[in-house]
Symmetry: C2
């Protein structure tokens, strides 16, 4: 019988180091054309995203866009096609996004990066920090939110579960200024920062809205950045309305990992990682968790 | 946690009477436009068929067309969207097809039908007989196959599990002649019967190939039939190459159940039920099994 994992089981089993390694491998496989991850398809209000690592596994993510209920991620082992396991809920997707963000930070942030600023206190903010803990020795996490209760809850969680010094700050400016790594993880349709607040050499991740007329940052961010990177160029280019980044030449994170692009070449450069959620990475992470 | 059913669990839990009642309701719901069951979609070698009974449940079937591995049928309860259960394997689909065939036989065969002839001894032959046992009091099942070992195994199984008199016959002609209900459940690309063998008043079900140049029957079958019925007109019409039946005016089984078409009006009429596998019926059957 196949394994069924709910959000608690996924949360218990996933470790940041393994998740980050899996997503690094996925980005490389996608860059090399080994990971089959076609555009999502729709039927009857449902969305299906397929993924396949030929000879190893195939799978998909399925979810309803109207009801907003539990998502299903399934992976089958090749060559038998036997169902290896199913993840039910929403945790796997958030950890996947966090792990991709940590791969980006590992690649883009300076080697000596130790400080993080976060705007946002939701699940995405948590999984970014969870995964970041695997790629840098963090000494100080500054968290800003308009909701003090959620802000102190996330500070507590980072201190308790990740054992990383964390504190609440009173302004977005404080969360962003003089930080090595900056994470924007809001649902804000309007800018939450001024790019002039950023320190030279900082690596910014944007997980939230990033479309023209609906973005958690303004055009000043891509204009100030020397390097803009994404986990999926095709998905970023398919945004409609377009991504607020498309006039810049974005680089595939997988290309930097593969050594096909130099990545950061200047310690004072500001980098932006535009997280779009590379297709096929949720089955990939589940396959990795199930040791396929 | 949601329920996961493998083929053994599906086989143990499904009862023919309940399965036939569920498929009857599904055919009616599809005819009335209540069952949302759009055409299947494809991505990365996977096929997804969605189904939804608004306000009750939504779900899908997912399978790989290359590897041919385990299929997954999933249903979520509305309005929460919580995953109610998953069926893994291939049993549910075969029972679904059997139950649809029994609804067709119940609607199309004469009230006094008691004899059945079957060509084919695979899983589809078994599930047709399994479901037929719920709609008519069968007194004699004649089974023909080119493989004697499989033939005697099916005879034994019908006698043991369904407690219906069954016997092996030596020719396809014997399996078809003077039968009230005839089931073609082969994978044959060429005709396995001559329509002239059929007795007046018989109801024929074809589960196997039914396309031009690849059909388990010849054009003589639809030509001899007074009534041709299918579980899905759109799916039958979408066959490419076309179905060997399309020059005849096929009738939706759901329309007869709803009373929008009279169905059999002459006790001597020969009817043909072309089984195509109405989309959405696998989630429907699983939802019924899970009492959604």
């Amino acid at each position: 019988m196949s394994i069924m994992l709910d959000d608690v089981a996924v949360t218990t089993r996933l470790r940041p180091t393994a998740a980050v390694a899996a997503m690094r491998a996925a980005l490389l496989a996608a860059h090399r054309g080994e990971l089959v991850a076609p555009p999502r398809v729709h039927a009857g209000g449902l969305t299906f995203t397929a993924g396949r690592l030929p000879g190893r596994w195939y799978g998909y993510r399925a979810y309803d866009t109207h009801v907003g209920g539990q998502q299903v991620v399934a992976v089958h082992a090749e060559p038998t096609g036997d169902l290896a396991g199913v993840a039910v809920g929403t945790a796997l997707g958030a950890f996947r996004t966090g792990a991709l963000g940590a791969v980006a930070a590992d690649v883009l942030a300076r080697r000596d990066a130790t400080t993080v600023g976060v705007i946002g206190t939701g699940r995405q903010a948590w999984t970014q920090l969870w995964a970041l803990s695997a790629v840098r020795q963090l000494s100080d996490v500054a968290i800003y939110s308009r909701t003090p209760q959620r802000q102190s809850a996330l500070v507590d969680r980072v201190q308790t579960e990740l054992r990383i010094p964390a504190r609440a700050v009173q302004t977005a400016h404080e969360a962003v200024a003089a930080r090595d790594i900056v994470v924007l993880a809001t649902s804000s349709p309007t800018p939450v920062l001024d790019a002039s607040w950023l320190a030279p050499g900082s690596a910014v991740t944007t997980v939230g809205p990033k479309q023209i007329d609906r973005a958690e940052f303004g055009l000043d961010l891509p204009m100030r950045a020397q390097l803009i990177v994404t986990d999926s160029l095709p998905q970023l280019r398919a945004y409609d309305p377009p991504a607020l980044l498309t006039n810049n030449a974005a680089v595939a994170l997988g290309a930097i990992i593969a050594g096909d692009h130099p990545g950061r070449t200047n310690p004072d450069a500001i980098t932006v990682y535009a997280s779009v959620g590379l297709a096929g990475t949720e089955p990939y992470l589940l396959a990795d968790l199930l040791a396929l």
